[in-house]
Structure formats: structure tokens, C-alpha cells
Amino acid sequence: MLLIYSNAESWAGLSAEQREGLGRSHQELTRELTEHGLLVSAAGLADPITTRTVSVRDDGLTTTDGPYAEAKEHLAGFYLVECETIDEAIGYAARMPDAQYLAVEVRPVMEMSGLEM
């Protein structure tokens, strides 16, 4: 799972040209991953202003506006790709312009399978 992080400041600081380049890079990467049969899913997430955080305590449900983590940075989008090694995934993460502007996090996904230890 490739998690793209952003913050409002860095997004606002981009020129129109940079934003266009960002979109183009993601289109190209998505096309390449699709052609290689590696892309499981990918999406950009709506602005954090639209986020609702849900918690259930003592059977009571509460929702608050905004992301759970109180940080400037927020999750802006993700790719789920099938890679043989973590280095291959790091290679794809490094091609996202977001890795220059802020950071992209690479994390393995848990599987429902295993060996008889």
C-alpha cells in the first residue's frame, strides 16, 4: 500500500504547472501499473475538510469533523499494488511527485494466510 501524504500548505504552494505535472505523473503511473497487471486499486481522497471521524464508546456513537490524527499532514490518496519486493514498491513511490513535495509511505498489507509454523 502506497500512502500519499500532503498538507494544505504544500498543496497551496504548488504552481498551476506543478499541479498539472502532478496529475499527469499519476495518470502515467496508473497506466503503467495497469498495463503491468500490478494495480489492485488506487484513489485520491477528498479534501480533509470533508472527513468525519467516527468513534463508538459505551455504545454511544460520536462523529467529529476532520481527520483523527491532529497533524498538519493528512492522507491524500493511496495505491494498492502487487509487488514482488518492498524495493519494487519503493521504486513506484519514488516516482510520485508527492514524494518530492511531502512524503509517500510504503506499507505491506496483512494477508489472511500463513504457514504451519
Partner: protein, 411 residues
Amino acid sequence: MSDFELLLREQAPQVLSALVRHYGHFDLAEEAVQEALLAAAQQWPGEGVPDNPKGWLIRVGSRRLMDLLRSDTARRRREENAANLAAPEEFVAQGPEIDDLGGRDDTLTLLFLCCHPALSAASQIALTLRAVGGLTTAQIAAAFLVPETTMAQRISRAKRSIKQAGSTFELPPEAERDARMGAVLHVLYLIFNEGYTASSGTDLHSAELTTEAIRLVRGVRRLLPDDGEVAGLLALMLLTDARRPARTDADGGLIPLADQDRSLWNKAAIVEGEALVTDALSRSQLGPYQVQAAIAAVHDTAERAEDTDWPQIVALYQVLEQLSDNPMVTLNHAVAVAMASGPKEGLALLEPLEADGRLADHHRLEAVRAHLLEMSGDLVGARESYLLAARRTTSVPERAYLTAKADRLGS
């Protein structure tokens, strides 16, 4: 799998071989066969299976292939504006009837083609399952838990790569054949493992892959009855799969070998696997699959876990280490040594693995260390290692198992 589906899957590689041998165009022929299989799946249940199912599939597949060749030629002509291309009629001239296969079985050639070195392992697996196994793209996608479009892309890319590599439909030259055979067996082994490791829990789709891998390697064995490694791989699969009914609990949790209810093991598969590997070891050149099968046979024929002949397993791991440079083998060797001679000897074997980049951060190394520390009485160290191993694994059942082991050792 129904008899009907099995029949189609058995015909698939032979129909495809016939079309490719006759017309070439592996990529389009493969598509045509898939469509013929789908047509059969739709028509036969209602109209009954024809007298000569293979002939029926070849006829329908040929017709479809010609349609595909025509549209492909037309498309290319438009694209390239090349007036001198052969007319489609000429291009796909009606050859002699190809119902008669002359008794040849080209399945092996087909396997070599699907396991072409130009392809990634994932593509080799997908293409083999489709072209040789006769599975649909949807079935393969479901088994690997990826969207169908992803799997379709992987398969068509694999077909394109084969075309670009300029491969023809013939057995690779003698000099290359051994290496390519190694790739074929490896792909079948990967298919089996994908099914076996994922057969816990509720994931029924993947369990079918073990059955499919066993069916395919049985087919290869029919073609190469004297190959010791083919026999060894079949034996290894049977002896491993025999334990499947006992390896998970009702909740899908993993049960280690030592704690499994051995009365649930599949006796027939164990008898067949043991006979296969014993025969292969006595008359073929030794290879890693035979040795791994022999190790599995030692486990499977112990009535109780404590009856396991660990010294023999240690000896077999020593042989295996000479045959293959694989740190995972050393890791299993260390466990066997600990069981045969005590945990200190086993722990000593782990030391060089910590410097091996292939395994240093692997959860299996930490899990084995935890197990051996527990055996040696270092419960605090064992607990720490179990917890670290639990954090490193990406498998949900393994994490549950390792966490439970740590919990049992207290805090």
C-alpha cells in the same frame, strides 16, 4: 470441481497446442481457446457433450481464431497502411483438418512457453493456469484476490512478451531444456504454495489452486515418467497437502505440525507420496524436490510428533543445503538440529543467518529464535522474540499464533 469442468480443463492445453502448432499466433490462439471453452460451458450442459469433445473444441477454436486473425490483419493494415500484406484469406488459408492430433501431446511445449524466462513469476503463473490449466481469467483473479481487469492485463501482457521474444512453438534446445524445466517445476510449486498457504480461514478459492497444481504436475509426470524431480515435486505436494485437514482450527488459526491431530491427515496421499519419493530416490539423479519430499515423508509417517526421526531430518537438510543455497533451508535445518541435539546447537546455526540480508529482518528467523530460546529455558528472551516476530509478519494467522505464544510466556 465438476466432472464437466475437469473435462474442459483437461482438453484446454491439447486444443491450444493443436491450434498453435497449426496456425502459430500463440496470443490469439489462446484467446480463441478460451472462447471455445466458454462456448462449451454454455452449450454442453443443455445439448450434451459431443462424441468427440476435443474435435468440437478445436473446430470452434479454429473458427474463432480465423475471425481474430482477420480482424487483427485488418486492424494492422489500417494502422500500418501496408498494401502489400497478404490477403486475410491467404493468411488464414484453410489447412487440413486438424482434429487428428497424431497422438502428439504438446502440453510440455506449452508449459515451456508459458514459463518463458522473459516473463515475471507472477505472469508465468497466470499464463500457465490459463493456457495449460484451462482456468478462466475470472477464476485466476479470484484465487489471487486481485480484480479481474488486473489479471486480464497481466495475462495479455505475458502473451505480448512471448510474442516480442519471438518464441516459436517448439521445445527449447536440449542445452536449455534443463534450466527451463526447472522454471516449469518452480511455477507449479509456486501455484501449489499460493493455494496451500492461503487455504486457511474462509478462503476457499485459493484451496483449489493446490488441487490444480497437483493435477498439472501429474500431467507433467505422465509425459516424463522417469524424471526424478517431477516425481519428487508431485510427492512433495501430496505429502504436504495430506496435512491440510489438520493444519487450521475452526477459526482459521494455524496449528503447528507438532500439535496437529494426525488422524485427520490424508492417508492415501501420504502412501502415494512416500512410494513416489522412495522410488525416485532409488533410481534418479538427486534433486531438491526429492529431498524436500523425503523430509515431508519423515514427518508424515511419524505416528506421533514425538516419534519424529529428527536425526534423519537433520541428515536430509544437510543434503538439501548442498543442493541449494537458500537461507530458509538453513533455518529449517537449525530447527531440526535443535530437536535432535538440543536448542544450543540449533541457536548456533542461526548466527550466520543474522548477517544474511535475505533473512536478517524476516519474521521466520525471529520466530525460530523464539522457539529455540523457549526450548532452552530463556523465557524472557523467547517472549521478546515472539513479539518481534509477530510485529514483523504480514500474515494475520501467523501474527495471532506468535502473539498467543508470547502471551503464554507471561509478562
